[in-house]
């Protein structure tokens, strides 16, 4: 497997705030990576660095190119969707198709038309006449018709209802994703898309709090739910997070085997959402 993104020591400051404070990570081909973090963690800054939209410090290679100096070349193989509100409101659907055909060598107009045919979007409609969900569908139609190797999505479903969100991710997986392509996605709605990810990167205050493949999470982390009276024994094994649920205590451990913890209570692999909350609260208290 080859690395699509290799970041070493990325830094970026806004005044006194360090949005990225020496961030290093790698993204391999054929993965769907979730970049997850609370507001202000540096997610969007990291994406902008990857896309060459903002100056930054450190080493960064995307598809082997430096986004600072080779952005134009890079954008032939990278596609991104900032969020739904960025399609200009005056643009007509047909103009969006004409424009993409005119500037993107890998845009397949027939493919976009085919996708749009399945929606209620009229070719002569202007973006301002479409609902938010329809604008996202239009943007998705444009993106899916571009044969890009690397797709970057920044909160693509923000403000959409559940039906549109579900449809969006289904389409992404079924019509777009394959082993040659890589997707990097940020979202706040972690629970909905956690089954989608092959890898996760947690960002907090400009630092990487966790970077792992989803398969490895199961062997690294374990969630133990114990009765309140067993809690003290479990606590002795130093969980990094715990919370009380209906009189029982759920704890998350790192680096313990199921054999060590099994006797104390119920074991399972923590969900990405649980792990995210655990990591964020863990880092918030230290």
């Amino acid at each position: 497997m080859t690395a699509i993104v290799e970041a070493k020591g990325l830094t970026k400051s806004f005044g006194a705030t360090r949005a990225l404070d020496g961030v290093s990570f790698a993204i391999e081909t054929g993965r769907i990576v979730g970049l997850i973090g609370p507001n202000g963690a540096g997610k969007t800054t990291a994406l902008k660095a990857i896309l060459g939209l903002t100056p930054f410090g450190g080493d960064l290679k995307v598809l082997g190119l430096d986004p600072r100096t080779q952005r134009d070349e890079l954008m032939r193989d990278v596609c991104f969707m900032a969020d739904v509100a960025v399609l200009p409101r005056w643009l007509r659907v047909i103009q969006a198709l004409d424009y993409c055909s005119g500037v993107h060598p890998r845009f397949d107009r027939a493919h976009a038309m085919e996708f749009l045919r399945k929606t209620d979007i009229g070719l002569n409609s202007r973006v301002r006449e479409l609902s938010k969900g329809m604008v996202t569908q239009l943007h998705l139609a444009l993106i899916l018709a571009i044969d890009a190797r690397f797709l970057v999505l920044d909160e693509p479903t923000l403000g959409l209802d559940l039906l549109y969100r579900r449809k969006f991710y289904d389409t992404l997986l079924n019509d777009y994703f394959d082993k040659e392509r890589t997707i990097l996605l940020t979202t706040h709605q972690v629970e909905e898309v956690e089954n989608l990810f092959t890898d996760v990167i947690f960002l907090s205050h400009g630092h990487i709090a966790l970077s792992s493949s989803v398969e490895d999470l199961g062997s690294r982390y374990v969630q133990l739910t114990v009765a309140a009276e067993q809690a003290a024994r479990a606590r002795a094994l130093k969980p990094f997070y715990e919370r009380e649920v209906f009189g029982r205590v759920a704890m998350i451990f790192e680096g313990h085997t199921a054999a060590e913890l099994g006797a104390l209570g119920e074991l399972r692999t923590p969900s990405i959402a649980d792990l995210f909350v655990a990591k964020m609260q863990g880092t918030a208290t230290t």
Binding site: T54, D108, E114
Partner: protein, 333 residues
């Protein structure tokens, strides 16, 4: 069924091998220029409406009660054509004035619209965040900014030039038909060579204006790429401020008004080089002087080889580069 359609019908991902690897920059530029006219249709509509209004005024004059070629002189009604018995040379010259006037009116409208366009284009895309969409496609900042200049300094002037010819010919035809009916006054005459000479003069004047004002256009782009709000004010207020401060200093201390002179020179200097202030519109007596004759009378060679003209072009290139850098690295979305 070809494979492309078959693939699309099956909902398969687009086939990379079917698409060309690159799009030629001229095709990209063409698409970018079309895009500008989609967003700013006023660039062609405003001059067209102005031209339409001119034709409408002509038609109203023709069909109004007072314009049936009859005037009251000393209490007697007289047919106009009896009073004005114009010779052919004067009619040909009058026709050249019509050509020049139509072009000038359309150009003034286009200059106003294009100025607002240049000040808005790089600002609006940041304001509505659509810059993130444009930047998600493989189009360089250089080509994008160049397309805006091409629109303002090439596409719009050529459209106006062509539109002016069309409208002038339409106006001329309407007038001629009217005068053929006997009701209208025969004031214009057709002379192909004179007509062509006039168009050449108009084209050269236009070309000179575009080169001379190119730095202003590029400055507008810089302000548009830079201003966080109200780019129009960012152009006007500093001008007014410096002008006022210099005037106060000049009044109190008596310093020369360098800035005012510079602005005056950059507005009208090239026309002094060309000799427009001495250009004749009227010949001996009351006869009209054809614009086409300016070809030999004005100093086109001197104006086009003026050092200040080309220094301005270099300044325009530098300012355009600054606008490209601003668009590339400015991040406020």
């Amino acid at each position: 069924m070809n494979t492309e359609v078959a693939d699309a019908a099956a909902g398969a991902p687009p086939n990379a091998t079917a698409a060309p690897a690159v799009i030629h920059p001229t095709r990209t530029l063409q698409t970018l220029v079309r895009r500008e006219f989609w967003e700013h249709p006023a660039l062609w509509r405003a001059p067209l409406f102005a031209g339409g209004a001119l034709v409408a005024v002509l038609l109203i004059a023709i069909f109004s009660r007072h314009a049936h070629g009859v005037v009251i002189v000393d209490g007697h009604s007289r047919v106009l054509s009896d009073i004005f018995n114009l010779d052919t040379a004067t009619k040909v010259a009058a026709h050249s004035l019509l050509q020049g006037a139509v072009w000038l009116v359309l150009s003034i409208i286009a200059i106003v619209v294009a100025s607002f366009y240049l000040l808005d284009c790089l600002y609006a895309e940041r304001k509505d965040r659509s810059i993130l969409f444009w930047k998600s496609l493989p189009v360089s900042d250089g080509l994008t900014v160049a397309s805006k200049l091409v629109v303002a300094l090439v596409a719009v002037p050529l459209i106006v030039f062509a539109m002016a010819i069309g409208l002038e010919l339409l106006g001329f035809a309407i007038w001629e038909l009217w005068s053929l009916t006997g009701a209208g006054l025969s004031v214009f005459s057709w002379d192909t060579l004179a007509w062509l000479r006039t168009e050449v003069v108009i084209f050269l004047v236009m070309l000179l204006a575009l080169l001379w004002y190119a730095p202003v256009a590029a400055l507008f782009l810089v302000v548009s790429a830079w201003a966080r709000r109200a780019p129009v004010l960012w152009v006007l207020l500093p001008l007014i401020f410096i002008e006022v401060v210099e005037q106060i200093f000049s009044a109190i201390v008596g310093t020369p008004r360098y800035f005012a002179h510079f602005v005056n020179y950059r507005v009208g200097g090239i026309w002094v080089h060309l000799g427009i202030p001495h250009a004749r519109l009227f010949g001996h007596g009351d006869s009209i002087h054809p614009i086409g004759a300016w070809l030999g009378e004005l100093n086109f060679a001197g104006a086009f080889t003026s050092l200040d003209l080309w220094l301005g072009v270099i300044a325009a290139a530098a300012l355009t580069y600054a606008a490209v850098r601003l668009r590339r690295y400015r991040d406020e979305t």
